[in-house]
């Protein structure tokens, strides 16, 4: 139905067709058809004005939001930040230590950033619940410290650069993550699952 909607000139040519061939020399018909010539001239003028408007809007300092807008957006984002669930690292009479899933995944991304040819994407962290100690420990012995050694399962999705040797790179990535978790958090990495979900151009 829509093709019927496309405006046509008296000579039967559609505006769409004239627009599509506007950069080419006029056809034999167009050269002799007054309606086509008028339409071509007008559309050429529109095409040029469109190009200029696109350029000048792009560089016009008046056509930009004030910097406060970005700040307001980021303030909302920060206030509503998703930290994911917290993972219990240590539980004792004198208090617990937890880490947010977000802190772990950003650390994992920092580690991944050191490996060339890898762009880390989503990261999901699971804990093997069986190894989680009870949170309410009897406080019979004072000063008890239980470092919960949570068995982490890190699931990381990445995009790999075109042309890299994937198995070797992923092994390096796994190693990097396995080293970063004990060094920066103080827990062992457990299982690190890496899924290459995409390739990116370099």
């Amino acid at each position: 139905m829509a093709l019927e909607d496309i405006p046509r000139l008296g000579c039967g040519r559609s505006i769409d067709r004239i627009w599509a061939t506007i950069d080419r020399p006029p056809t034999a018909h167009e050269e002799h058809c007054e309606q086509c010539q008028t339409a071509r001239t007008r559309l050429q003028r529109l095409g040029e004005a469109t190009r200029l408007l696109r350029q000048s809007d792009l560089h016009d300092p008046a056509l930009k939001p004030r910097p406060g807008i970005k700040n307001a957006i980021m303030d909302v984002a920060r206030a509503e930040v998703r930290r994911g669930s917290s993972i219990l690292l240590r539980s004792a009479d004198n208090g617990t230590t937890e880490i947010s899933e977000q802190a772990l995944s950003s650390l994992i991304r920092i580690a991944a950033a050191a490996i060339p040819g890898v762009h880390s994407r989503r990261c999901r962290i699971e804990i093997r619940s069986a190894s989680l100690p009870g949170e309410d420990r009897p406080s019979g012995t004072t000063g008890t410290t239980t470092t919960a050694r949570p068995r982490l399962i890190v699931n990381l999705w990445v995009a790999a650069a075109q042309g890299i040797i994937i198995p070797r790179t992923m092994e390096a990535l796994r190693q990097k993550i396995s080293n970063a978790l004990p060094a920066c958090v103080g827990i062992s990495a457990g299982t690190v699952n890496i899924t290459v979900e995409d390739l990116y151009d370099v």
């Binding site: 240590r90 208090g95 230590t97 937890e98 880490i99 802190a103 920092i110 958090v185 103080g186």
Partner: protein, 131 residues
């Protein structure tokens, strides 16, 4: 009120919150305290909204900079959300924070209770380049 009189001086939950904040920020490896509105709403439940309007309210909880501190029966409890420096081991930093906060609480004459620490971010230490 649950603020505790001790040797004639009044230790308020506000003081404990401010003490815990200062002690935490002075601990090596701590980049900042990071309160989030969601964080304390989740932690404190529906009563939190009411408390947010009345910082030094009846339940003896006071939030300095988003740090909730509670005093009851002579015991002070604190919850801290911290961001740590990637060059340090976060679990050790949290442990040092806990030890120091407890020490400083005991100097006020109160009994240090549970000091819960949540590590909300681990980041490289550097100055923000474009604030």
């Amino acid at each position: 009120m649950s603020d505790q009189s001790f040797k004639g001086s009044l230790i308020t939950s506000r003081l404990i919150a401010s003490l815990a904040t200062r002690t935490t920020l002075e601990t090596p490896g701590v980049l900042r305290l990071e309160p989030t509105i969601q964080g304390f709403l989740a932690r404190l439940g529906p009563a939190a909204l009411q408390n947010l309007r009345k910082p030094g309210s009846q339940d003896g909880t006071y939030r300095q900079n988003g740090v909730p501190a509670t005093i009851s029966d002579g015991t002070a409890r604190v919850h801290l959300d911290i961001a740590t420096d990637i060059a340090y081991t976060a679990l050790d930093v949290a442990e040092t924070v806990r030890r120091r906060v407890r020490e400083n609480i005991s100097h006020t004459g109160l009994t240090p209770g549970t000091i819960d620490v949540t590590i909300v971010a681990i980041e490289p230490h550097r100055r923000a380049t474009m604030l």
